[in-house]
């Protein structure tokens, strides 16, 4: 929930007189919240203390009532300036000193009003339409010459995340990344979230979609059935992947192997290395994954479930791809833009067994969206979990074990 906020200053002998306590109590009693910033306590009895307080409220009206109530106790609203705007010198180039976004909710001051920046994502610029009082993030590549871009830090404020209300694994700041900790309770909490989000999704509630970004290890390691079940049960609504995950998933359906390894046989089969190429070739001949599923060529697995359940799939290619499969976006800027468009409405992101897609997705997500990163390589969850978010959970474990345990928690019976 977005909140209105104002910064106030309080100074004098505010500690012993309990004036600070009174102001903070007043804010809370009226239904607001606060962050104490830059508290300077006088070193002697004569020396005054100073507090900079960010006051937040659920509406502009309540905020103004709170400010009105604390002003007689000496709280003065910090004078604030509009953000500085600078024109982009050419297409695809930000002005010098452009403000680079974080993944935290951000507001910019335009004509003395704080305006919410839309589409928050890290490492972008902010484009302001000062006539419509509208601010939106813009990637470097999409900026147009003459666009008004926020420059410097004045008139920009970043709003720290509120600690989430739910008392589950996401509400504790510990971004646990360890192969030596039990995963059971973490997976159980994730399962509860998935169940809640599915209910919300069915009721049409905003922010109830679940995104899974995954790599082919899901298939190789034996997580395919569990993930298929999760998709069939409508726990997953958006899938980000590359060329390999769908290729090997469909290879299993057509040949019973992934990367030539026979799933039933438990060994490498002769000429198995050709199977994924033959799979890709087959799908290319049919024209699309969807057509392959609808025509009955592909009957089981992750992609079949995605087609059946209408999951929004974004496939982003890389330079090592074979084929690629039809639908794989080979222009990486276009792929990034397509992924970005799929982010609104996401309420939870599962980043499973793919360094490339996990990091790319992590960069696109605002800090307000809880994320779970699962990888056998601790470097990946560490990179993603260490983003200053209350809600990033890292699990060092194998993708198949994670998905199977998660599905079992939700009622899957293999």
């Amino acid at each position: 929930m977005m909140q209105d906020q104002e910064t106030v200053l309080l100074q004098g002998h505010i500690i012993d007189s309990l004036i600070l306590a009174k102001v903070l109590d007043t804010i809370l009693m009226m239904g607001g919240t606060f962050d104490l910033q830059d508290m300077q306590i006088g070193k002697t009895r004569e020396e005054p203390s100073r507090a900079r307080i960010i006051v937040r409220a659920s509406s502009a009206k309540l905020l103004s009532e709170i400010i009105h109530a604390i002003q007689p106790h000496g709280a003065s609203v910090e004078s604030e300036r509009d953000c500085r705007l600078s024109a982009a010198p050419a297409d695809g180039i930000f002005p010098d000193e452009f403000y680079a976004t974080t993944h935290l909710p951000t507001q910019v001051r335009v004509h003395d009003q704080w305006v919410e920046v839309e589409g928050i994502e890290m490492d972008l610029g902010i484009r302001v339409d000062s006539v419509r009082l509208n601010a939106r993030t813009v990637p470097m590549g999409e900026v147009k010459g003459g666009d008004q871009i926020v420059a410097g830090r004045e008139g920009v404020r970043v709003i720290p995340l509120q600690r989430p209300r739910d008392r589950d694994v996401f509400s504790f700041m510990e971004s646990q990344v360890s192969s030596e900790r039990p995963h059971g309770h973490v997976i159980s909490d994730i399962a509860k979230r998935l169940a809640q989000l599915r209910t919300g999704f069915r009721e049409g509630k905003a922010g109830s979609k679940v995104l899974l970004a995954g790599g082919p290890a899901i298939v190789h390691a034996g997580g395919r059935e569990a993930l298929t079940w999760l998709i069939d049960e409508t726990f997953i609504h958006v899938l980000f992947c590359g060329n390999a995950l769908p290729a090997h998933d469909m290879e299993v359906d057509l040949y019973g192997t992934s990367l030539g390894y026979g799933h039933a046989a438990g060994r490498v089969v002769p000429h198995g290395h050709e199977h994924h190429l033959r799979t890709i070739n087959r799908i290319r001949a049919i024209g699309s994954i969807e057509a392959a599923v609808r025509s009955g060529v592909i009957k089981t697995g992750i992609m079949a479930a995605c087609v059946r359940r209408g999951v929004h799939v974004v496939m982003a290619g890389t330079i090592r791809d074979d084929g690629p499969l039809p639908g794989v976006i080979t222009d990486s800027v276009e792929a990034q833009a397509t992924m970005r468009r799929a982010i609104p409405g996401i309420g939870l992101a599962l980043l499973v067994a793919s360094t490339l897609h996990a990091v790319a997705t992590g960069n696109l997500l605002p800090a307000t969206i809880p994320s779970v990163c699962v990888d056998v390589n601790p470097a990946v969850p560490t990179k993603l979990a260490d983003r200053g978010s209350f809600q990033a959970v890292g699990l060092v474990m194998d993708a198949a074990s994670f998905l199977r345990e998660l599905a079992r928690e939700l009622g899957w019976k293999p």
Binding site: Q11, G12, H13, L18, E46, P48, H73, G74
Partner: protein
Amino acid sequence: MSRLLVCPPDYFGIEYEINPWMRRSNAVNSDQAVRQWRHLMEVLEQDVGAVLERMKPVPGLPDLVFTANAGIVVGRKAVPSRFRYPERQREEAYFEDWFRGQGYEVVTLDPGRFFEGAGDLLGFPDTWFGGYRQRSDIRVFPTLSDWFHREIIPLELVDNRFYHLDTCLCPLSGGDLLYFPPAFDRYGREALAERIVPSRRLVVPEVEALRFACNAVCVGKHVVLPAGCPETEALLTSRGYLPHPVPLDEFMKSGGSAKCLTLALD
């Protein structure tokens, strides 16, 4: 030796209503007011041994008699008041002239920052208390604290009958405090309790607080207070003070008593 600024009540009367005590219909008996004021001066000069500096009264300024609101004086530095109500703002120039005429270094607050002098700022030698919300603006205290190098604990005045701090709180020379706790909120009462041990806190009963028992002038062991406050007198006596009750009911019609009629100069 204590010097006090006073102003004879030649033009004292109720000409407007800016506190709950003032009623224009409740006319002042001028002769009686003059008698009461002179009696107070006698007690201050003869019994207490204070030296009085008399200001010249000004026609049309009925409240100039309440010199506690002239400003605040420490050593040779004076900060004149900035009154909240326009009715009393006209007094500012006269008080300021008096300070300048006497050779004080006059330091002035920004316009628009209300401060009603010693009526809202009083205390012990090292810690002062600042009354705010009714008349003075809390924002003046950090400035005054800086100018006078004193800690100032702001106290919110929550009952408009006690519209100045000196109507409900009186620090005494021995470190005791005469006060009426319900005039403050919980935070103010706690702040006072933190500073002053219970044995030194002398709580005035409501009936006497409403007679402005706290509006007392303390010089050494002498405490001059309005008449009709026997329990307060007993409290003072029990702590070794010498109470001097003076009838001042004509000035109560305007919401003022002994302390309001004087300003401590040094």
